[in-house]
Amino acid sequence: MRRVLVANRGEIACRIIRGCRELDLATVAVYSEPDSGSPHVRLADDAVDLGPATSAESYLNVKKLIAVARSTRADAIHPGYGFLSENGDFAAAVEEAGLVFIGPTAKTIRQMGDKSAAKALMQVAGVPVIPGHAGIVEEGFAEIAAETGYPLLVKAAAGGGGKGMRVVENEDALEAAVEAARHEAEAAFGDGRLMLEQYINRPRHIEVQILADNVGHTVHLGERECSVQRRHQKIIEEAPSPALTPELRERMGAAAVAAAQAVDYRNAGTVEFLFQEGEFWFLEMNTRLQVEHGVTELAYGVDLVKWQLRIAAGERLTLQQADITPRGHAIECRVYAEDPARNFLPSPGRIRRLREPAGPGIRVDSGIAEGQQIGSDYDPLLAKLLAHDASRDDALDRMTQALRDYVILGPTTNIAHLRAILQHAAFRAGELDTHFIETHFADWAPAAPPLEALIAAGATRSGGGRQPAQMPSRDPWSPWSSQGGWRQGV
């Protein structure tokens, strides 16, 4: 393995390219037309234009990706997350083309991709699953729903990331929920098959990271607490979870390893669980690198991307379970171009100014650059901000300060909302469940602009849109630099 094509975009493409470079692997980036100026394109050794913005014609175009890998002499493909990362047909096509797919086998992806079949497999492997109807529901929803009992969850069999999922409180809402879930699942996965299961009312979302090599050596790297979500999508993740005792961690870790071994798992993967009052149930397995893999990397001092590459290259996993222990606490905030005050609506726009936080224990996994246009074609994730420190309290304080320092002007972002969450008493106390946002932040609105913001706006106006008039510059090289008249150290 010498040259890796990264079949993704944004921050995760940058993250993977960095991992490749550290292992002295050459990289090929791909991009769609609106992404031509993106950081991942510049970071790679080689970059190839895939064509139009539409994912189907670019990042989801299997034939084109394989042709690009061939023409650039790449010998492996890393799918990242989203797009083709959990598409068994893609993994199979990559292998058939004589290339290495950096991830599990096509068979494993398909086994875990079908949520209904995966649930059955897990039950056999002794992993606890959510009670509900076994198998796909095609008709007779009302009868099966009555058997399962309300409230229940309509869930896409091909699902993931909260797409194609609807909670149904009573029979009156069933038909509309089934229609909406099916429509969304067909649009997102090209597969509208649905399942019905019991709705766990106030769960935590806790997931376990696993790594497995090609000869079946499988370890877990503890859990990530991912309960803070909006629209079923995570926005804050941390490791370890404030809810787990060492005993529970060991039980969940063992269940995750059993889940992975039941599908002959290889490479990095994540087993997601719902957790409530000391009980946990298998939700799904994500057969790929997770968005939030960084918190595990910080808390466990392990580079998951490099392990992915090494395992794909045929190396043995040298980590032993007994040696894997967390050190301190890590937290991640996902920075999105969206407006939390308007139901998290995406907010496209140009990044007009960008200043990223830095300092001890701070990591920014970013996919954006100043001047870049954030369009409406893809997921609005801009970057991930991570903080690591000795204890949870210290890590939260560190994150709060880093969020204050994060300047993104142009698109509306969720940064102020994230900081409000970090400062909320229930969050500080670790009292989390997947309804945290709707429970505590249903009416959140950003603060009105303070005096200093309005004065700055007025000052730019007085300057006619360029250098504020009569405003001294502290930059001695500035053409506007005045001859004194301003106070040092105001």
Partner: protein
């Protein structure tokens, strides 16, 4: 001259005189004075009496983005402070996003019931449904055909006024 800035639902008036690193004037009718310096292009230090605060800013036409106290705001300079401006009639359903018009389920003259889905929009892979706010009749619909792009706040469907 006093300028008005709109920020979300709120509006603010700023009247500022600048002279050699000092400012004085009124913000929202209250007198202000203090010191101002440019640390680098796009970064001001403003001291309005509560200590020096760094303010990042970018201006483009009537729009100004500012960041201070760990938070960002987008301001729009408006001609004058208009008081009591009528709200857009709720019978006008505007697109909440810039994105794709996936489906348009009604045309002018159709009768609709409260809660009916009238149009389906999509941006960044998220689906948004425009629903009828009340029973009524469709006055007009957007000229954009399904599959086409609509802009944020663009009219998608309008009901006949009651």
């Amino acid at each position: 001259m006093a300028e008005s800035y709109r920020c979300g639902d709120s509006q603010h008036t700023v009247e500022l005189r600048l002279r050699a690193g000092e400012f004085s004037g009124e913000v929202d009718g209250k007198p202000v004075e203090g010191f101002l310096a440019e640390l680098e292009p796009g970064l001001l230090e403003v001291d309005a009496g509560a200590g020096a605060v760094q303010v990042h800013f970018v201006q483009d036409g009537r729009r100004i983005w500012v960041h201070c106290h760990g938070q960002a705001w987008e301001l729009e300079r408006v001609a004058t402070a208009r008081q009591g401006e009528p709200e857009a009639a709720s019978d006008q359903l505007l697109s909440p996003i810039t994105g794709k018009l996936v489906e348009l389920r009604v045309s002018a003259g159709d009768s609709v019931a409260k809660g009916d889905t009238l149009a389906v929009l999509e941006a960044m892979k998220m689906e948004h449904r425009l629903r009828a706010p009340r029973d009524g009749t469709i006055a007009q619909v957007t000229a954009t055909a399904p599959g086409g792009q609509v802009r944020e706040r663009e009219l998608v469907v309008e009901l006949v006024a009651e």
